[in-house]
């Protein structure tokens, strides 16, 4: 699995070079061998995965193709409800979340032929940017023992980076797709708010939750998004916006060409209090985009801290309402720092919550008008420092842990409030061998441009071809 992309494996299966059962067996063997250390999975069902693969193989023999993911092994964050499997959401309760139907994003991937390997580790209740989890074991950064995997979609990033699954679903309320993708050296896309249905995924904050793909390449994320995106009657906030052909937007075999694309490099906020290696890698990545023909210029980002605070007020308020029962009935089961974040939300008045929602609307109009008058995409760092040691996430007084969490998600959270598509792409390694990442942010529903810039960057560089030392 470590050598395949989703696109390549799907093509090989279609060409009869490898069967769905062989691909699934290979993934399961790899999980069996490596996941005791990596802790990417919360729930694995080898029998069910192989049964699905055999059914797909029988379909293949009679020429029946389910779709572009026929026989491709994937795994899903353990907040996606799938009937027959418990959904812990990273809590101590195995069946914390249930829904009437399967998670829409999962159901669409499965309908397109994907094999579900299992459900993936995550921060408790999707609250926490480091990916630590006292209940299910800390997901391990595959690049360096003892370092955080990033969160909250920690298992998704670890599984993909380590070749346990070719792609995964993550969710992102303040950076939870992009942060672990950045920390583990893979690609993660938080789509536009409403682009992918949230139905069947545990809510953390209705206004800021996004479901999105995680994979090793931008092209693979485009393949997954193509299947996941689109309106859903089960999610009133899903958008009726037309779903474009994302792969077609990436350009042909002639090579990456960004001529005419305007790239803005954030001149304020995003490079302040950022590790020097991170800042240097992102600026070098912007230089690569310029060499590919893009017009790169610095631009001023309006009110980033204000938008980040507004997003935080909304998230804290909504999450404490959603998880009030757990907080009231079984507070002792919640990790102290997670409990503290939920309790903080109880102290925000309805008046302040509503004002934050009203401010969000105004700030989004201003941001979109000002930034995208000057650029087609904005680029910035994702994580302010390479993945820190696990002790940074787990050792210290609760208020200090919460502060560290806030700092680590500082460069991603505002884009949840803004609802804009934001992509994390690997752009180098620190001197300690930990991945560094570039964030590419676009206009609402302009995933095609965001993916095109990310794909062009990957075609011109080889960071995404490096493998972590897990074998």
């Amino acid at each position: 699995m470590i050598g395949w992309t989703i696109e390549a494996l799907a093509a090989a299966i279609r060409a009869g070079q490898i069967s769905p059962v062989e691909a699934t067996r290979e993934a399961l063997a790899r999980i069996e061998r490596l996941d005791g250390e990596l802790r990417a999975f919360i729930c694995l069902d080898a029998a069910r995965a192989l049964e699905t693969a055999r059914r797909l193989e029988a379909d293949q023999r009679r020429g029946a193709w389910r779709g572009p993911l026929h026989g491709v092994p994937l795994a899903f964050k353990d907040l996606c409800f799938v009937d027959g499997w418990p959904t812990s959401c990273g809590t101590r309760t195995a069946e914390y979340f249930r829904d009437e139907q399967d998670c829409t994003a999962v159901a669409r991937l499965v309908a397109a032929g994907a094999v579900t390997l299992g459900k993936l580790n995550m921060s408790e209740l999707a609250m926490g940017p480091f990916g630590d989890n006292a209940h299910h074991g800390h997901a391990r950064n595959p690049w360096r023992v003892g370092h955080c995997a990033g969160g909250s979609s920690s298992g998704s990033a670890v599984a993909v980076a380590s070749g346990l699954a070719l792609g995964a679903i993550g969710t992102d309320t303040g950076g939870s797709i992009r942060l672990p993708a950045a920390a583990c050296g893979i690609v993660g896309l938080k789509p536009t708010y409403g682009r992918v249905s949230r139905a069947g995924a545990m809510p953390l904050s209705w206004s800021n939750d996004h479901v999105g793909p995680m994979a090793r390449t931008v092209r693979d994320c485009a393949v997954l998004l193509q299947v996941m995106a689109g309106p859903d009657p089960r999610d009133a906030t899903s958008s009726p916006e037309r779903v474009p052909d994302y792969l077609a937007a990436l350009g042909g075999p002639a090579g990456p060409d960004l001529t005419g694309t305007r790239v803005g490099v954030a001149e304020n906020f995003f490079f302040q209090r950022v590790d020097v290696e991170v800042a240097a890698a992102v600026r070098k990545a912007a230089d690569v985009l310029a060499r590919l023909g893009a017009h790169v210029d610095e631009l001023h980002v309006p009110d980033p801290q204000t938008m980040s605070d507004v997003t935080n007020i909304v998230s804290r308020s909504e999450s404490s309402a959603i998880h009030a029962r757990l907080l009231h009935d079984r507070p002792h089961e919640i990790q102290p720092v997670v409990r503290a974040r939920l309790e903080l939300g109880l102290q925000i008045r309805a008046h302040d919550y509503l004002q934050a929602l009203r401010l969000r609307a105004r700030l989004t109009r201003a941001f979109v008008a000002e930034v995208f008058a000057q650029a087609d995409v904005l680029v910035a760092p994702v994580i302010p420092e390479p993945a820190p040691p696990l002790a940074h996430a787990t050792v210290g007084p609760v208020h200090e842990l919460a502060e560290r969490q806030g700092r680590f998600a500082r460069l991603t959270r505002l884009f949840n409030g803004l609802g804009l598509p934001a992509l994390s792409v690997p752009c180098g390694f620190s001197s300690a061998g930990l991945p560094l990442a570039l964030q590419i942010v676009g206009r609402p529903f302009d995933e095609p441009t965001v993916l095109r810039v990310g794909d062009a960057y990957q075609r011109a560089t080889d960071w995404h071809t490096r493998r972590p030392p897990v074998d």
Binding site: S207, E241, L359, A369
Partner: protein, 55 residues
């Protein structure tokens, strides 16, 4: 008051500072649903709304 609740109250106060600074200037017509309108108005010009045909 516990040792943990003191920094939490300070954090809440700091977080809500943005409301104190900015909410008074909001237009009466400003409402949360305008966020969705902002996304729809901000999309690329070529994009358009489609019905169920796409899904």
């Amino acid at each position: 008051m516990t040792n943990e609740s003191r920094p939490q109250q300070a954090e809440v106060a700091a977080l809500l500072g943005v409301i104190e600074r900015m909410a008074a200037d909001l237009a009466l017509a400003e409402e949360p649903a305008r966020f969705i309108t902002a996304l729809e108005m901000g999309r690329p010009l070529a994009a358009s709304t489609a019905g169920d045909a796409d899904r």
